[in-house]
């Protein structure tokens, strides 16, 4: 079987190759083929990882000097999700990104972002985690500022400042961990922290939480997200909202859950999650700008996922991960369609889309379906995932859990209203009726994303068999 | 009234006429100075209701159309519309000398001089204006006529409608009363459908 190291090497190689060839066609082909190949790689590794995690020996250097990497079920799952999403998004970008001069560089940076994403999932070494985290942030800054407009530059600057604050906190946490464990491997650190004094571990855990938390858009520190997602090109906002912040969330939660297991951080996470849900929904309610509204919606959805994961039960973890899958599909679809709405009407305000539903019927229908699933209307996939989360929360019981359920339910009410306000504007009386449908590649990618969301329920039986081992990847680190 | 008309009445007609005469409802077309004579006839001093006579508001419900004074050309149009809206058998009672021969307005260019050229008048009450006693006696004689079945002036309007129509056109030209009088006559069997 091909070594999982390819996850890191292949995109890097593709990136440099593209820069070297510097031809749009080649760049596009490379950036389509690499993630597709990795997706197949992930699928090939999945059955093995379901049995037990596969450690990867890098250049035959043993610990403690070597960099411990390992591919477990969760890693494989996330890898497949990332790869498939990026294939579709690159397909969308081919018709969305105008044939500008440095388009090749766009694809190169995307490839680097992919590398860091796969790296984050595989690494078992805390410093290695820091390195991949830094690559991820930097490539995000570049991509957010892609349109070189005033708003984009300002947004990426804000994103960079917060990202760097996060990195410093992460470094502090790594320093504390290294002092305690003497080794950078997560397994050793975990053992060290068990015996370390409580205050010491709490400081490390909190700094780590808010270090990586910035990228995972955890509530108080995610204020960069609305500006970044709304001024980034839609394909990039789809990548960011689609799997980057979810990936960071999963990684944060996994490390907190295993390395800093000594500290019971779950109640704190629940409080943060519920706050995130409420703030996200209420701010999205008053929005006039479509992409900004979707960005706030991502904040609340992240809150829901974090709430599910932080319930502590396996049912909660499984529900959270399946919701993550649904959200990746639905939110990406919404962002990509929003991209074309902006492209066609040249405006980002919802009120300017009157009658667009008649001029772009297919995309408006897909927008409706994605919104329906996000809100959780049966028989779409979103209903089952949201129901599982609430059922898991009800199972754990307790005042905080029921308050969480209440806030999620009221959040859904707000979400339904502001999403369907857009649909009412779309299907209002149109000025003129000339068809301006999306281009074919974009339409194909959005259709596939929406297909995942609409027919997700059919995946449920197969998903429930795999979700077990994937979920306990969150609790154990091998 | 043709002699033949009187003798043909069956016993049932006689009984009916005697019952019908006990209830007469009046519609006053209060013009000129006659209207003021009616309140005393209706109230407690003379009490017209003893004879079953009651003032009514709309032409549909009235039997007697009481013209209580002079009629100008303009108001005659309204009177004819009201007369045609009444349900037969109906009786026009001219009140005071103005309806008989123009009264003190005999030389006016706008008042009509003889009511019976335009409407079939059942009875005139002479006087400028007749006192309540005269009104009561007039109505009593009308009741007797109805009882004996002689009060058939309303058929006259159908039988020689051309005469009345000619006079009306002479005075104020054609008006639209939504009534086809000859057709009504044939429909209700008053004109024996021969003309």
């Amino acid at each position: 079987m091909v070594s999982p190291m390819l996850f890191i090497i292949a995109p890097l190689a593709a990136a440099f190759l593209m820069i070297f060839i510097n031809r749009r066609g080649a760049a596009l082909a490379l950036s389509l083929l690499t993630p597709a190949g990795l997706a197949i790689l992930g699928v090939s590794w999945l059955p093995a990882t379901l049995v037990r995690a596969q450690p990867i020996v890098v250049a035959s250097i043993k610990a403690p000097l070597g960099i411990p990497l390992s591919l477990d079920a969760l890693g494989a799952g996330m890898a497949i999700l990332v790869a498939v999403s990026s294939v579709l998004i690159v397909l969308y970008s081919s018709s969305y990104i105008h044939r500008g001069h440095h388009e090749v560089r766009y694809y190169a940076v995307v490839m680097i972002l992919l590398t860091s994403a796969f790296g984050l999932v595989l690494t078992r070494d805390i410093f290695n985690l820091f390195v991949f985290f830094e690559i991820l942030c930097i490539s995000s800054y570049i991509l957010v500022s892609w349109e070189q407009s005033g708003a984009a530059l300002e947004a990426s600057f804000k994103y960079m400042v917060l990202g760097s604050i996060g990195s410093t906190f992460l470094l502090v946490s790594i320093a504390l961990a290294y002092k305690a464990a003497g080794s950078l491997a997560m397994a050793d650190i975990a053992v060290a922290f068990d015996s370390a004094p409580r205050g010491y571990v709490i400081m490390a855990a909190v700094t780590f939480l808010f270090g990586v938390g910035v990228e995972a858009a955890i509530f108080p520190v995610n204020s960069w997200l609305p500006d970044a997602h709304s001024s980034a090109p839609s394909s990039i906002s789809a990548i960011l909202s689609g799997f980057v912040i979810e990936l960071a969330l999963v990684v944060t939660f996994r490390v907190l859950n295993t390395v800093f297991a000594a500290v019971d951080v779950l109640p704190l996470l629940q409080i943060i999650a519920i706050a995130g849900v409420l703030v996200g929904e209420f701010s999205a309610f008053g929005q006039k700008d479509l992409k900004r509204m979707l960005a706030y919606s991502s904040i609340s959805q992240i809150g829901i996922m974090l709430f599910a994961l932080s319930l502590g039960s396996t049912a909660g973890a499984q529900a959270g991960l399946s919701h993550l899958l649904m959200h990746a599909g639905a939110k990406s679809a919404l962002f990509l369609i929003a991209g074309y709405f902006i492209l066609r009407t040249g405006s980002r305000l919802i009120d300017d889309y009157t009658g667009l539903g008649y001029r772009m019927p297919v995309s408006a229908a897909l927008f409706g379906l994605a919104a329906l699933s996000l809100v959780g209307a049966p028989p779409l996939f979103g209903f089952f995932t949201k129901f599982q989360i609430l059922a898991a929360a009800a199972a754990t019981g307790g005042g905080l859990a029921w308050f969480g359920i209440a806030s999620i339910l009221s959040g859904t009410v707000l979400e339904a209203v502001y999403l369907f306000r857009v649909i009412r504007v779309l299907f209002a009386q149109p000025a003129e009726r000339s068809r301006v449908e999306m281009d074919l590649p974009a339409l194909v990618s959005v259709a596939l994303f929406t297909a995942l969301v609409v027919f997700g329920a059919l995946l449920l039986p197969s998903l429930s068999s795999m979700i077990g081992p994937i979920a306990d990847g969150l609790a154990t680190l091998h | 009234m043709a002699e033949k008309e009187l003798t043909q009445r069956t016993a049932w007609d006689k009984v009916l006429a005697n019952l019908r005469k006990r209830s007469l409802w009046m519609l006053h077309y209060c013009t000129g100075c006659g209207a003021v004579e009616l309140p005393p006839t209706m109230t407690s001093r003379f009490d017209m209701e003893r004879f079953g006579i009651m003032p009514m508001v709309t032409p549909r419900q009235a039997d007697i159309l009481l013209i209580t004074g002079y009629l100008s050309v303009k108001t005659l149009k309204r009177v004819i519309l009201i007369y045609e809206q009444m349900v037969a058998p109906k009786y026009v009672v001219g009140f005071g000398s103005c309806t008989i021969n123009g009264g003190m307005y005999w030389n006016s260019y706008t008042t009509i001089k003889a009511l019976d050229r335009y409407l079939p008048v059942e009875m005139y009450l002479a006087g400028c204006m007749p006192r309540p006693e005269a009104i009561i006696s007039g109505f009593n004689s009308l009741i007797d006529k109805i009882g004996k079945g002689e009060a058939n002036s309303w058929k006259d309007y159908y039988e020689n409608y051309e005469f009345y129509k000619k006079n009306q056109d002479h005075v104020f030209g054609d008006i639209e009363t939504h009534h086809d009088v000859p057709a009504d006559g044939r429909y209700f069997g008053i004109l024996e459908a021969k003309r």
Partner: protein, 621 residues
């Protein structure tokens, strides 16, 4: 076997309609005939499914429990009503819906809505119930979009209420599942019988509130008038006849069979002051206030939608008494109301089809031009006002008798006040449309085609026969009452047997026909009569013609308007809900300011977060 087929058919219909969608523009006839055939087949399957009452069929496994559907007496009663009214509506739209081009997915969403309703009615466990409830409310939202421009605005209003109801119900489903341990109705009933008071109260409230919202009971009725009035007319007929009754179905199912009457009566202080009394008071308010709002409406459809709220109040009145006569009255009223409101709205649709407007101030005198529509509306309004010999009277008689003898005098009075209000607004409806002077512009109006007349004739027959022979309906209701755990009503073909009370509609109608004949004889004894033109009218000597508007339509009940003007314009409930909306927008605005956009505030948030997190973690051991 028929039960599954019954549920599958509308789903197939939905899919096929989407496929046929392309043809809708070229020839709408294909789509319309397909919809009609599908609905007729569905009705046939529904009748065939009668012997399968009682057994349940399990569907796919979801969250560890299998979704199960099955027919009970109550659900079969509702299934037949849904099937019947759907066939009639689709038959009516065959003629009425001229350009399905502008209503792209009219039939598609109708199929989905029927699927949702049938599923809801046939669900045998809590999870299926909730899933079908959500599908139905989403389908209703999309069906309402198919009307005029303001239909979309009103539909969003409905969506807010529906999503709130859906989420509260979801909370209820979760709470019940958590406390009772399973979604099965039987398990829940057993658990609720001996559940401690707090859990029982919470689960009952969480489940009843959404049903009251969906059934548009008094405080939560704001969404219904504009949503129903602005959708397409035959859809208004469909929605107001059966769609609002799904909330009531939920109420009946949960109060009587899932929670059980004994559990419900545990909530409350005494026999006279318990949950059912609150329901009665709400029902009385629902019956009275919307009916008197209907009085002041200028649009025929809006007037009738206010009535659908009012009549919903009557049904709830009957059901909340939980006595034999009361529940029989409530159940029968659901059927009765469905028949005569559909009849009235179909005749309004016939008038709108020809004159193009339903504005009561502009219509008049159409009895001469559209006699069949007039007859339909006449039968309908006699039923709606609840005057013998139509079926509306029978159910109202039951409700009155149970309220009076059940010891609720003032609620019975409220019910009668509502009846008087109904009679007034109903007469205004038929007077302003069909009676009075015919305006010049409607001179060339003709009667509607045979296709649109057929449903009107059928419904007239149903309204009259079930009025004269209420036994036909009461026999099903008796079966349902057994299922609901209530002493079934001693029914006879003409009404109610001797000891339970005195009503024999056959005798009442027979005597009425005899006396009517006596009236006819007296009429023909009198002299000949001739029909005259409408301008041959008493106008104090004034000459009437076609350019003299001589109609009394505007501000028909001026005395009431004069007395109740203030109360009508700023109804307390509507302002309360508007303020709530404004409060949510204000909070949203306030929260949005959290994201200031300056980087220094973000950094400050960052530091604050870390400090707070450290503090929290210090506290938790």
């Amino acid at each position: 076997m028929y039960t599954q087929a019954l549920l599958a058919l509308p789903l197939v219909g939905f899919v096929v309609t989407i496929v046929l969608q392309g043809t809708a523009r070229r020839s709408p006839a294909i789509l319309k005939t397909w919809a009609l055939l599908a609905f007729v087949a569905m009705a046939a399957v529904a009748t065939l499914a009668f012997p399968e009452i009682g057994d349940t069929y399990t569907g796919p496994m979801v969250f560890g429990s299998s979704l199960s559907i099955g027919l009970t007496d109550l659900s079969w009663w509702f299934v037949m009503m849904i099937a019947g009214i759907t066939v009639l509506t689709s038959f009516f739209t065959l003629g009425a819906l001229r350009d399905t081009g502008t209503y792209p997915m009219y039939y598609g969403w109708l199929f989905l809505k029927v699927f949702g309703m049938l599923g809801l009615v046939m669900s045998r466990d809590l999870l299926t119930f909730f899933i079908m409830w959500e599908i139905m409310s989403w389908a209703t939202y999309f069906v309402m979009q198919q009307g005029k421009e303001e239909g979309r605005e009103a539909a969003l209003g409905y969506l807010v209420y529906a999503i709130v109801a859906g989420m509260v119900l979801l909370g209820g489903v979760l709470f019940i599942h958590q406390s009772a341990g399973s979604f099965e109705f039987a398990v829940i009933t057993a658990y609720m019988a001996k559940a401690e008071f707090g859990i029982l109260l919470a689960s009952v409230l969480l489940v009843l509130v959404p049903f009251l919202i969906e059934a548009a009971v008094y405080p939560a009725h704001g969404w219904l008038p504009s949503a129903y009035a602005s959708s397409e007319t035959s859809m208004t007929a469909y929605l107001s006849s059966i769609s609002t009754r799904m909330g009531l179905f939920g109420l009946i199912l949960f109060v009587f069979s899932v929670f059980g009457l004994k559990a419900i009566d545990r909530i409350g202080i005494s026999a006279h002051l318990n949950l059912r009394t609150i329901l009665l008071v709400l029902a009385a308010l629902t019956a009275v206030l919307p009916t008197y709002t209907a009085l002041f409406q200028h649009d025929a459809k809006r007037l009738l939608t206010w009535h659908s709220i009012g009549q919903g109040g009557y049904m709830l009145l009957g059901l909340a008494t939980a006595s034999t006569l009361g529940t029989a009255g409530g159940l029968m009223h659901i059927f009765n109301y469905m028949t005569y409101v559909a009849l009235i709205i179909f005749s309004i649709a016939a008038v709108e089809y020809r004159t193009g407007t339903t504005n009561l101030n502009k219509l008049g005198g159409l009895i001469v031009k559209q006699p069949v529509a007039f007859l339909g509306m006449l039968f309908g309004i006699i039923g709606l006002a609840g005057i013998p010999p139509m079926n509306g009277f029978v159910s109202k008689w039951f409700i009155y008798r149970s309220l009076i003898l059940g010891g609720y005098p003032f609620i019975a009075l409220a019910a009668f006040i509502a009846t008087v209000g109904t009679i007034m607004s109903v007469y205004k409806l038929i007077h302003n449309t069909f009676l009075g002077q015919l305006p010049e512009r409607y001179n060339d109006v003709k009667e509607v085609g045979l296709l649109m007349q057929l449903p009107i004739w059928i419904l007239m027959g149903v309204v009259f026969t079930t009025g004269v022979f209420p036994g036909l309906i009461l026999q099903w209701i008796a079966k349902i009452q057994v299922g609901m755990g209530i002493v079934p009503i001693a029914w006879t073909l003409g009404g109610v047997a001797r000891e339970a009370g005195d009503l024999n509609m056959m005798v009442v109608t027979a005597v009425f026909m005899a006396t009517f004949a006596v009236g006819a004889i007296i009429f023909f004894i009198g002299g000949k009569r001739r029909i005259v033109s409408q301008y041959d009218n008493y106008a104090a000597g004034h000459f009437l013609n076609k350019d003299v508007p001589y109609n009394f339509n505007y501000n028909f009940y001026s005395a009431f308007d004069h007395i109740f003007e203030k109360l009508y314009h700023d109804a307390p409930v509507q302002t309360a809900i508007r303020n709530l909306g404004r409060f949510v927008r204000m909070v949203a605005d306030y929260v949005r300011r959290f994201f200031t956009g300056q980087i220094n505030t973000y950094a400050a948030y960052y530091v604050a977060a870390v400090i707070i997190a450290l503090a929290i973690l210090k506290e938790i051991p």
